[in-house]
Amino acid sequence: MKNGRERGRKEGFREEWKKNKPLFIMAAPAFIFAIVFLYIPMVGLIIAFKNYRYDLGVFGSAFNGVDNFRFLFSSGTGWLITRNTILYNILNMVTSQLLAVLIAIFISEINKKIFKKVTQSLILLPYFISWVVVGVFVYNLFNYETGFIPSIVAAFGGEKPNFYGMPGAWPWIICLFNSWKWTGYNSVIYIAAITGVDSGIYEAAAIDGANMFQRIWNITLPSVRPTIITMLLLQVGRILRGDFEMFYQIVGNNGQLYNMTDVIDTYVFRSLLTSSNIGMTAAAAFYQSVLCFVIIMLVNTIVKHIDADYALF
C-alpha cells in the first residue's frame, strides 16, 4: 500500500517534470539559492550546543551539552535581553500602530489635495533614510556638547540635560524614532484600507445624519480593523526579534545604556564581533530562532482556531 503510494508519487513527479520542465528550470536558481544561503546555515544552529573553536569548525568542535545556555542565563544576561526585547516590541508596536492609524484617518479626511500630498511625502521620507543617518540625527539631537536639544535648553537658560547619562530616557527616545521611521510606511497601508471602503456607505451615513466622529467610529475604524489585527499579529510573531539596525545605530557603543537598551540582536552582534565565547552567543541566537518559530506557530494556530481569515498562513 505504502509502496504503491510512493511509486504513484514518484510517477507524478516524473509526469510533472515532463510536462513542466521549463518551469522547474526557471525555479531552480531561487531554489538553489535558498538551499545554499538560507537552509544550510540552519545546520549551524548546533553551535549552540558546542564549545566552538574556529580552527575545528562547526562539525569538529566538541559538544558541551547545555553549558552555553546555562552561562547565558546564570549571568543574568539572557533574562535581561529577553525582557528588553519583549518590552520594546510591545511599546513600539502599540505606539507606532496607533500613530499610523490616527495619521491615516486624518489624511484621508482632509480634502486639500496639495496639503495631503506634501505632508504624506514628508511623513514617508524617514522610511528611505538609512539607520546610519538616523544615528547621526540622534547623536546630534541629544549629545551634551553640541546637541540640538541641550543647546535649546541652555539657550532658554535651563540646565543642559545629559541624555547619555540618563539610561531611563532611552526607551522613549528609541520609541520616538521607531515611530518617526515607520509611521509613514504604516499609514500608507491604513490609508489604502480606508480608501478601499465603498463611498456609498459614507453617503448613506451622511444622509442618516451621522456626524464626523460617528462616521469615523462606525465606518472608518471597523474598515481598518482587519488591517490593524494583521499588522499586530505580524508584530507578535516577531516579539523576540529586535530591530537590530535601529538599536545599534541609536545606542551605539554607550555601555552605560546597555541595561536599558540591549536586545537579543544587539547582544549577539556585539559578542560575535568582540567576544571569544561564540558558544554562548550562538546559544542566544538559537534560543531566539527556536522560540520565535514556536511563538509564530502558536499564534497562527490560535488565530486559525478563532477566525481563519486572520491566519498568517
Binding site: E16, N20, M26, A27, A30, I129, V132, V136
Partner: protein, 299 residues
C-alpha cells in the same frame, strides 16, 4: 430644532478638521526637522557650533566642512562606486530570481507551486540566525572582503516574492494560453509576453531591492575589513565613529582639536551621503507607495 442641530454638526467637524490639520502638520514637521538641523549644521562654522550647539538655521554661515570633503573626495567617490556597484548588480540579480520564481509559483498548472511557496515562506519563520550565517560566510564560503558578501544577503526576499506574485497574477492567463497555442515555448512566453507586462512590478520590487542595498551598512560591518570595499553608508558610519573617537582621545590627552571642524564635517558627510536619496525620492515615491499597498493585501 433642525437648524441648531446642523450648526452643532458643523462646529464639531470644524473642530475635527482643526485637530487633523494641526496633527498632520506637526507630524510632517517632526519628520523633516532633523534634516533641516543636519543641513544647517553642516553649513555652520565649527566655532559657532562649539559655543552655541546646533540650531535650525546656520548661526554663522560657513562652507569649510564641504571645502575639506571636496578637497580629498577620493574616499567618498570610491564608497559611492562600491554602493552603486552592489546596488546595480544586486538589484538586477534579485529581480531575475524574484520574477522568475514568482512566475512559476503563480502558474496554476504547476503541481508543486504551493509546496514551493511554502519552501520559501518557511525561511521567514525559521532561520539559522546571525551566528551560524556569519561563521558560514567567513569560514566555509570565505567571503571576507568579498563584495559578494554585500550582494548575497539582500538578493532574495520572500516578502518581495509574494508582492511580485501579486503583480504576475494580474497578467491574464489567456495571454499565456494563446502564446502556447501559437507554439511559443515556456521561456519565450515568460520573456516576451509576461515580462513586458510586469514593468510596474519590476520597477516597484527593483526600487525596494535598490533601497535595501543602498542603505546597507550592516553586512559591510560584518564582512568588510578593507576600507576600499566600504559602501557609502558604512563609510559614513565609520567616519562618525572615527571622529568621535579622535575627539575623545584628543580631549583625554589634553590636546585641542580646534583645527579640525569635526562636528560640521560629520554633518556635511551625512548630507553628501544622503543627498541623492532625498533628491530621487519625489520621483520614486509612488512606486514604493504602490509596493507597500500591494504587500499589505494578503496574497
Amino acid at each position: 430644532m433642525e437648524n441648531s442641530k446642523k450648526i452643532k454638526l458643523s462646529t464639531s467637524s470644524k473642530a475635527f478638521y482643526v485637530i487633523a490639520y494641526v496633527m498632520v502638520t506637526l507630524m510632517a514637521l517632526v519628520c523633516i526637522l532633523p534634516f533641516i538641523m543636519l543641513i544647517s549644521g553642516s553649513f555652520t562654522s565649527e566655532q559657532f557650533l562649539r559655543f552655541n550647539g546646533l540650531g535650525l538655521f546656520p548661526g554663522e554661515f560657513s562652507t569649510e566642512a564641504y571645502g575639506i570633503i571636496f578637497k580629498t573626495p577620493e574616499k567618498i567617490i570610491r564608497a559611492y562606486g562600491v554602493s552603486i556597484f552592489i546596488t546595480v548588480v544586486g538589484t538586477f540579480l534579485g529581480l531575475f530570481l524574484t520574477t522568475m520564481t514568482a512566475y512559476v509559483i503563480s502558474r496554476k498548472d504547476f503541481k508543486y507551486r504551493n509546496a514551493l511557496s511554502f519552501f520559501f515562506y518557511f525561511t521567514t519563520l525559521f532561520n539559522g540566525g546571525m551566528v551560524s550565517t556569519y561563521i558560514y560566510y567567513i569560514r566555509y564560503l570565505h567571503l571576507k572582503d568579498n563584495l559578494l558578501a554585500l550582494i548575497i544577503p539582500g538578493m532574495f526576499n520572500v516578502f518581495y516574492l509574494l508582492i511580485m506574485r501579486t503583480f504576475v497574477q494580474t497578467v491574464p492567463t489567456e495571454l499565456i494560453e494563446s502564446g502556447k497555442l501559437d507554439g511559443a515555448g515556456e521561456y519565450r512566453i515568460f520573456f516576451s509576453i509576461v515580462l513586458p507586462l510586469l514593468k510596474p512590478g519590476l520597477a516597484t520590487i527593483g526600487l525596494f531591492l535598490a533601497l535595501g542595498y543602498w542603505n546597507d551598512w550592516y553586512n559591510a560591518m560584518l564582512y568588510m575589513n578593507t576600507e576600499a570595499f566600504y559602501p557609502l553608508q558604512y563609510m559614513l558610519y565609520s567616519i562618525q565613529q572615527q571622529t568621535q573617537a579622535l575627539a575623545q582621545i584628543a580631549s583625554k590627552a589634553g590636546i585641542t582639536v580646534a583645527n579640525l571642524p569635526s562636528t560640521s564635517l560629520k554633518l556635511a558627510m551625512a548630507v553628501v551621503a544622503t543627498g541623492p536619496i532625498v533628491i530621487l525620492y519625489p520621483f520614486v515615491q509612488k512606486y514604493f507607495v504602490k509596493g507597500i499597498t500591494v504587500g499589505s493585501v494578503k496574497g
